[in-house]
């Protein structure tokens, strides 16, 4: 009987005009497009320089900045108003103002007049842009000071040279960081939302009623409904890992069994959530809207896109109830760092706690509606 129930689900799945395609296209898109698109690196910052110094040294500074590859020099002018106008028209993102006497001050080691102005309509681009720009200037200064053997700066005391070394992601490659997170999102969608929509679909069609008058228990029916999606999830996960390896050359550093274990734990949560959604919604539209609500909160508050540690305390508190927080954290740690399951007991406990709560609630709400 179970075999036949599962067979029926698979049959319906493959007969659906959309679902099989989604399962293929979704991970492809997730892995091949999003790592490039959902990128926090800022490039091509349009720069205008107001050069009031007009010396070789100021020209060298400009070259230094544009040579970094992050900036695109739009113009060099002498009137600050002209530069401001360009920013107002949105043709430039940053203004670098080099004051008069720059070349003189840098030699004597006095405070020298350099100004940075950034357009922060896009906050990320603005703040990262200004960071890059000041880094360039600092670097230039240091080099300049190194060149001059009798520089007063070196004489004034030791200069602390902090050289960061990036562990687990040596080149600070944003894609490496996103790949495991995107797998997390793919798994959440397929295990949580597809079955929920499927159950609501049966509700709408009235077929669930037909099943309820049969000797098949509700539990058996629901479990048989979910099994195919679990199989499909692991298929998708495999596909994601394969793409990560083939296209980006990323290999999971930790054990694949760890990935499987955390995926199973996460499935427990999403399955319960899917059940809850389907038991509270009468039709697919309602279910879709509830899902949208959860998807947004889950993603934005999971640490996938922005680090949890930089959220305010109250928002951090909310993330403790977000299964994606634990799952994404665990997947990243296993994938990038090679952490073992024992290292990640905290994430496992979090997922388990949420999973048990949600499942308990889901089963209760299902009983009530019967």
């Amino acid at each position: 009987m179970w075999k036949y129930l599962i067979e029926k689900e698979f049959r319906q799945f493959f007969r659906d005009p959309m679902l099989p395609r989604i399962v293929i296209v979704f991970p492809l898109l997730m892995m091949l497009v999003f790592p490039f698109a959902a990128n926090m690196e800022v490039k091509n910052i349009n720069l205008v320089v107001v050069d009031n110094d007009r010396t070789d040294i100021s020209a060298e500074l400009i070259e230094k900045c544009t040579g970094s590859g992050y900036f695109r020099l739009k113009a060099v002018c002498s009137d600050p108003r002209e530069a401001q106008e360009m920013m107002d028209r949105n043709t430039v993102d940053a203004i670098l103002t080099i004051g008069q006497g720059f070349s003189r001050s840098i030699v004597t080691g006095e405070d020298f007049p350099v100004g940075i102005k950034v357009n922060t309509v896009n906050g990320t681009k603005g703040s990262i842009g200004s960071q890059y720009l000041s880094d360039c200037i600092m670097l230039f200064m240091k080099q300049f000071a190194g060149d001059g053997s009798s520089s007063p700066q070196t004489a004034s005391g030791p200069v602390i040279d902090a050289a960061p070394k990036y562990y687990y992601n040596p080149y600070m490659d944003y894609k490496v960081f996103m790949v495991p997170s995107l797998m997390v999102i793919a798994v959440t969608m397929v295990t949580g939302f597809f079955p929920a929509l499927n159950i609501v679909g049966e509700k709408e069609a009235g077929t669930i009623e037909q099943m309820n008058v049969s000797p098949v228990s509700k539990t058996a029916f629901i479990v048989c409904k979910m099994i195919p999606y679990w199989v499909i999830t692991f298929f998708m996960l495999g596909m994601c890992l394969l793409i990560a390896w083939l296209v980006f050359g990323y290999v999971c550093r930790g054990s694949l069994w760890g990935v499987v274990l955390f995926t199973v734990l996460h499935i427990m949560v999403t399955a319960g959530l899917g059940l809850l959604i389907s038991s509270y919604s009468e039709n697919a539209q309602q279910a879709m809207f509830i899902m949208m609500f959860f998807v947004l909160i889950f993603m934005l508050m999971s640490g996938v896109f922005t680090p949890v540690s930089s959220m305010p305390a109250w928002a951090r508190a909310i993330t403790y109830a977000n299964p994606l927080r634990y799952y994404a954290d665990a997947m990243r740690a296993i994938f990038l760092k090679g952490s073992s399951v024992a290292d990640l007991w905290y994430d496992a406990a979090g997922l388990l706690a949420i999973g048990v709560t949600v499942l308990f609630w889901a089963v209760r709400s299902y009983r009530k509606t019967s």
């Binding site: 009987m1 029926k8 009623e209 037909q210 309820n212 008058v213 049969s214 000797p215």
Partner: protein, 321 residues
């Protein structure tokens, strides 16, 4: 033994009373019709009997099994065909049938003789998806799926609603054959004319059974003399008749009006005829007719409405005790 026993079953949805104190017995091997307008509580009663809904009060049993305690047992021995087509539209005819057979722990081959009559009509389309079938074929498939596990009681909730006249007749012929194979059939319908096709019927209104028995028994208990009155224009005639002395009720029945008159009135036919002719109506005809179930339903519904308030106080007294 009775196939279905319902005793004082009540059900409310919030403040809306769907069923109030319904009691019925359905004998084994009969076609029992539950007849009433939309919203009378037919589907609620079906859902209680098929263990999909819990009653607020009262008890019910199907084939001797209590609907609450032995719900699992009931699910094994009943067939249920809900009012709305609810099979898997994306599975083929054959797949649907096999699926429901498997769900009930049997096979199509094992019980083929039960469904042969009906299935043979849709067999040419066995590989077509259920969603692509015509209305009549969908209904036949649904009936097959409800019968494939050889149920002892078959529940059909408004099976003929929205079905054309020819298919309706076909359907009732099928029911007669199903009955002949020993299955008890409990069927609901809003169509009064289908009452005569049942062995026994119950008339339901606002969640109460207003009468039950064989169709002929219900018809024979109609207390008034009934006349079919024709004349034009029709609607003013209806209004005129309703305001005429000695007329107890008058309802429009298609091309004629059914007029109830106190049977003690002598020569009523002649009286009515001369009255409407003198009132200026044309093409007048008056015949005495035998009352049908619909006439009885109208009469009983009217009586039920009149007694509504009085009965309401009695019932609340019961609930207190």
């Amino acid at each position: 033994m009775n196939a279905i026993e319902i005793h004082d079953v009540s059900k409310s949805y919030g403040k809306v009373r769907a069923l109030s104190g319904v009691s019925l017995n359905v004998k084994e091997g009969e076609i029992f019709g539950l007849i009433g307008p939309d919203g009378a509580g037919k589907t609620s009663l079906f859902r209680i009997l098929t263990t999909l809904l819990l009653a607020d009060g009262g008890t019910a049993s199907v084939a001797g099994l209590d609907v609450v305690k032995d719900y699992a047992g009931i699910r094994r021995i009943i067939g249920y065909m809900p009012g709305r087509f609810s099979l898997y539209q994306d599975l083929s005819v054959r797949e649907n049938l096999e699926f429901f057979a498997t769900v009930f722990g049997t096979t199509v081959e094992e019980n083929y003789d039960v469904i042969r009559d009906i299935y043979s009509q849709i067999e040419p389309f066995r590989d077509r998806r259920a969603g692509a079938l015509s209305g009549g074929m969908k209904q036949k498939l649904a009936l097959c799926c409800a019968l494939v596990h050889k149920p002892s009681v078959l529940f059909l909730d408004e099976p003929t609603t929205g079905v054309d006249a020819v298919s309706r007749r076909d359907f009732w012929n099928m029911l007669a054959r199903i009955k002949a194979s020993g299955v008890t059939v409990f069927v609901s319908t809003p169509y009064m004319d289908e009452a005569s096709l049942c062995d026994r019927v119950a008339l339901i209104m606002h969640g109460s059974i207003i009468d039950s028995g064989t169709p002929s028994k219900i018809e024979s208990e109609y207390p008034y003399a009934l006349y079919a009155v024709k004349g034009s224009p029709m609607y003013p005639l209806l209004k005129y008749l309703r305001s005429t002395d000695g007329v107890l009720s008058c309802f429009s029945f298609g091309s004629v009006h059914h007029l109830a008159v106190d049977p003690s009135v002598a020569d009523a036919r002649q009286k009515i005829l001369s009255e409407i002719v003198s009132a200026g109506f044309k093409d007048c005809e008056v015949h005495q007719i035998r009352p049908g179930i619909e006439d009885c339903f109208m009469y009983l519904a009217g009586r039920y409405r009149q007694g509504g308030e009085e009965r309401g106080t009695v019932r609340s007294g019961h609930a207190g005790a």
